[in-house]
């Protein structure tokens, strides 16, 4: 049902877009700037976003994602579903129907055998394919006929939109790549630099780690697209220089990933030649509360484990008060500007899965104070710090070294001081903090602090594995060598039961409902996770470049065929 809307949406956009266009190649050259240079056009040989995205101008998957995270058809007639029979009842196979009459850019016909070959190419045991995760669990891929591809999985796969979906798993031409299997993959430089594709452009010149020159694909399936006759992708520099080239000097039409300080964003917007576009994915900067006691007086092995509940933060009223004291809007303004928005959700996107939880967005200092009073924390000795039973309300707040995080620490410390909480700040080198070394006391999993701040996201559009990280048995502890994703040591049997139910559920609407409940259980019902900012993607495009829609679920250049010059 959702897919049908998606299809109709895609069809509608296809119907409206050509109104602004004249014909293929009428708009001259589009100049794109990537602050990281492109080293290959073949997404299977690089995990770098820049290679995958520039490659997507040439190579296309069977289906992609639109800006809402919905699956849209590219080389197929429709998206398989349980209703149309494309996905088998047992969820073990999916069948794709190709659009008849599609041609590669060299004029040869596009068939199901190319897709079968692509799967063989990536799943070759000696190949070292960078996108192997998208082909996980596949038993076989077969061409039922020239226009039908069937993928069979070993086990039931509730989310089969991984292989051949999205810019990270495009279709390669069998005729071009058939000698590049396995160990030969990376030595096929001609093929990797100038792949034959079905996308809107084809490569004319490839200078490694420097520039890619492209021209319109003469055999592209829509005769009116792309509007640009040639495209140039230049690499190198940094985010600030890239933004300046679009926003101030106007040398380029599009700059990728221009993540810069809000003040500089504001200054550049006055440059007048371009504008920033943003889109939000699932990356959320959050504060995690430790549910166990990290006190150094406890013996190693018991410190920060479920044996000793946290003496202060075990009380939900304290956690809620800490959340209420924060003004998320100001954090966004100071740290991210256009590239962030305040959020109360752990799963802020896709829209379909996002809860409507907005309680935390208004700061309430008085409410927070009242809540702490109610919980028994009063300032009995008049030193500005609350206490209870001889214990001070003092917290150790750690995060990784990062200019924005340190600003956040200082601000939040002040807010917490205002409600009578003493805060000690600590910063840890990111390679140690996220390093996961069981021997180091400073990792975020070990969590030898009361609260900690970092950002995390999930891959793809389905939040199930992400929400399943907060079940009891995923808590890091000595027995697991301090590995595990549930860093808060949150443990609620009701939550675990609901996660199990989510794994069993197939209907999308029901899944979304459970995901929202799980999200709320972690955030507004328990304040174990205190989300702060939903961090988005920020890119810049020239005022004269039309048709740009930023997409965080697929390549940023996903709709480059619709781009045109505003005259």
């Amino acid at each position: 049902m959702k897919l049908k809307t998606a299809l109709m949406g895609a069809a509608a956009s296809l119907a409206f877009a050509p109104a602004a266009l004249a014909e293929r190649g009428s708009d001259g050259e589009v100049r794109i700037l990537y602050s990281q240079a492109v080293s290959t056009m073949n997404a299977y040989l690089s995990s770098g976003t820049k290679d995958v995205e520039v490659g997507s101008l040439v190579l296309e998957p069977l289906a992609g994602f639109n800006e809402k995270g919905e699956v849209i058809p590219r080389l197929v007639t429709e998206i398989p579903s349980l209703e149309n029979g494309g996905i088998a009842e047992d969820m073990k196979s999916i069948t794709w129907k190709l659009i008849p009459g599609l041609l590669w850019s060299d004029g040869s016909p596009f068939t199901a055998h190319d897709a079968v070959f692509t799967a063989e190419y990536c799943m070759h045991p000696e190949g070292g394919c960078a996108q192997l995760a998208r082909y996980e669990g596949i038993e076989k891929v077969e061409a039922v006929d020239d226009l039908t591809v069937k993928i069979t999985y070993k086990d039931a796969k509730p989310n089969p939109f991984t292989a051949f979906v999205g810019a990270t798993s495009p279709i390669l031409q069998k005729a071009q790549f058939q000698n590049c299997l396995g160990p030969a993959a990376s030595s096929c430089t001609d093929q990797n630099f100038k792949p034959i594709g079905t996308g809107p452009f084809r490569v004319t010149e490839f200078r490694t780690n420097d520039t890619v020159m492209l021209e319109a694909n003469p055999n592209y399936r829509d005769p009116a697209k792309p509007a640009f006759a040639t495209a140039l992708v230049k690499g190198g520099g940094d985010a600030t220089a890239a933004a300046r080239a679009v926003m101030e000097t106007g040398e380029f039409d599009y700059a990728w990933n221009t993540q810069i300080a809000p003040e500089i964003q504001a200054q550049m917007e006055q440059g007048g030649t371009g504008k920033f576009v943003n889109a939000f994915g699932t990356l959320v900067e959050r504060i995690e509360m430790n549910m166990t006691d990290p006190s150094p007086e406890l013996p190693e092995g018991e410190r920060a484990t479920a044996k000793h509940p946290h003496p202060i933060l075990s009380d939900i009223r304290v956690r809620k008060a800490l959340s209420m004291a924060i003004d998320r809007q100001i954090l966004v303004e100071i740290g991210y500007g256009n590239a962030g928005r305040a959020t109360c959700n752990l799963v802020p996107a896709p829209e379909f899965f996002a809860s409507d939880n907005t309680d935390c967005l208004t700061q309430d200092v008085e409410g927070a104070k009242a809540l702490l009073e109610e919980a028994g924390w009063t300032d009995s000795d008049g030193d500005g710090v609350r206490d209870k039973d001889g214990r001070k309300l003092a917290l150790l707040y750690q995060t990784s070294v990062n200019a924005i995080r340190q600003d956040f620490q200082s601000i939040i410390k002040q807010w917490w001081n205002d409600i009578g909480v003493e805060v000690e700040l600590k910063t840890v080198d990111p390679s140690v903090f996220f390093g996961g070394d069981a021997g180091s006391p400073d990792t975020f999993q070990k969590f030898y602090a009361d609260v900690e701040m970092y950002a995390n996201n999930f891959d793809g559009t389905d939040p199930e594995p992400y929400l399943a990280q907060y079940t009891c048995e995923k808590a890091p502890r000595p027995e697991t060598q301090w590995q595990g994703e549930n860093v808060n040591r949150f443990c609620d049997p009701a939550y675990d039961a609901l996660v199990a139910e989510l794994v069993r559920t197939r209907e999308m609407d029901k899944r979304a409902e459970i995901a929202k409940t799980l999200n709320d259980m972690l955030t507004k019902d328990s304040y174990v996770v205190v989300p702060l900012v939903d961090r988005g993607r920020l890119s810049a495009h020239a005022n004269t470049l039309g048709g740009v829609v930023l997409n965080t679920w697929d390549s940023e250049l996903w709709n480059a065929s619709d781009w045109y010059r505003i005259k």
Partner: protein, 304 residues
């Protein structure tokens, strides 16, 4: 015709050595200017906070990114913290770290250098130890030190005191090698000079020999390396803070002020320039003082 001029035989009043040094020091213009500037900086950093009482860590979100004004003579930073207060508070820490770490490193370096140069038997092991320290990768070593000792030290000396001790020791223990090498070279040369031979021939013990004859003659390279050492220590502390190994982030030091401001360098250049000038002025003035001291302490130059 043959009478001796009486005035020449009149004995001059006895002068203390340090008085001579001071007289010589006064003739070095750069050194006097350096001393004045350094005294001013020290005064500002030590007495300033008593007069300008704004707390350097208070965030004021209504006064972010302000320019120079009466309320904030040096403006405010991206979180509305008063920059003047931060520069003064930062200077106290940076100068203290620089001086202490430098003293520690000079003490270590000179001791090892003199021992290695003077006693032939110690030379091999001590210089190999120096090579070993030179070969150690500094950053992983510091990481290890911080990981191992941060928590116990913070507990016994408080978060700031513990980190101060740790950083001073870390910088001191990893920056003495150049001094040791230079001092050893000088000592080797001086050891062969005639006056040392003469002193030895009248039976001067080794301890006296080192303190009386060798050390005063190697003072100039030590002075130079000490003045350079302060600069290096201030900068190393900045780098450590930047890597998260230094002081807590709400604890201003000059290095941290500089690093914090780099992002907004184009929009608010003075936020980089002010701590930058403070660091440069301190380092430069200490260098000039060192230069003057070196000249004043060298008996061959003194009196000319």
């Amino acid at each position: 015709m043959t009478e001796a001029p009486a005035t020449l035989t009149l004995p001059r009043p006895p002068r203390s050595q340090w008085r001579d040094v001071w007289d010589q020091f006064k003739t070095h213009k750069g050194a006097i200017v350096g001393l004045t500037v350094f005294a001013l900086i020290l005064g500002a950093v030590l007495i300033g906070p008593l007069i300008w009482t704004i707390d350097p860590t208070t965030v004021n979100l209504r006064a972010r990114n302000q320019g120079f004004s009466a309320a904030h003579p040096l403006g405010t930073d991206q979180l509305g913290r008063d920059l003047l207060a931060r520069v003064m508070a930062g200077g106290k820490v940076s100068i203290a770290v620089g001086m202490t770490a430098m003293s520690l490193s000079i003490l270590l370096g000179t001791t090892i250098g003199v021992l290695a140069g003077y006693f032939r038997r110690l030379e091999g092991p001590l210089m190999r130890l120096t090579d070993l320290f030179l070969a150690l990768p500094l950053l992983p070593l510091l990481l290890l030190m911080v990981t191992l000792f941060r928590e116990p030290l913070s507990r016994s000396f408080g978060p700031e005191g513990g980190i101060f001790l740790l950083i001073v020791c870390a910088i001191g223990a990893t920056s003495w090698m150049q001094t040791a090498r230079i001092v050893r070279g000088e000592v080797l040369a001086i050891k062969e000079r005639e006056f040392v031979l003469a002193a030895r021939s009248i039976g001067t013990p080794a301890r006296r020999m080192v303190t009386r004859h060798v050390l005063p003659n190697v003072l100039s390279p030590i002075m130079v390396s000490a003045t350079l050492g302060i600069a290096a220590a201030i900068i190393t502390e900045s780098a450590l803070s930047f890597l998260g190994l230094g002081f807590p982030p709400d604890f201003p030091t000059w290095g941290r002020l500089l690093y914090d401001a780099i992002d907004q360098m184009q929009l608010y250049p003075w936020r980089v320039i002010i701590p930058g000038i403070a660091i440069s002025l301190t380092v430069l003035s200490v260098n000039y003082i060192g230069d003057g001291l070196r000249d004043a302490l060298d008996p061959r130059i003194r009196g000319r």
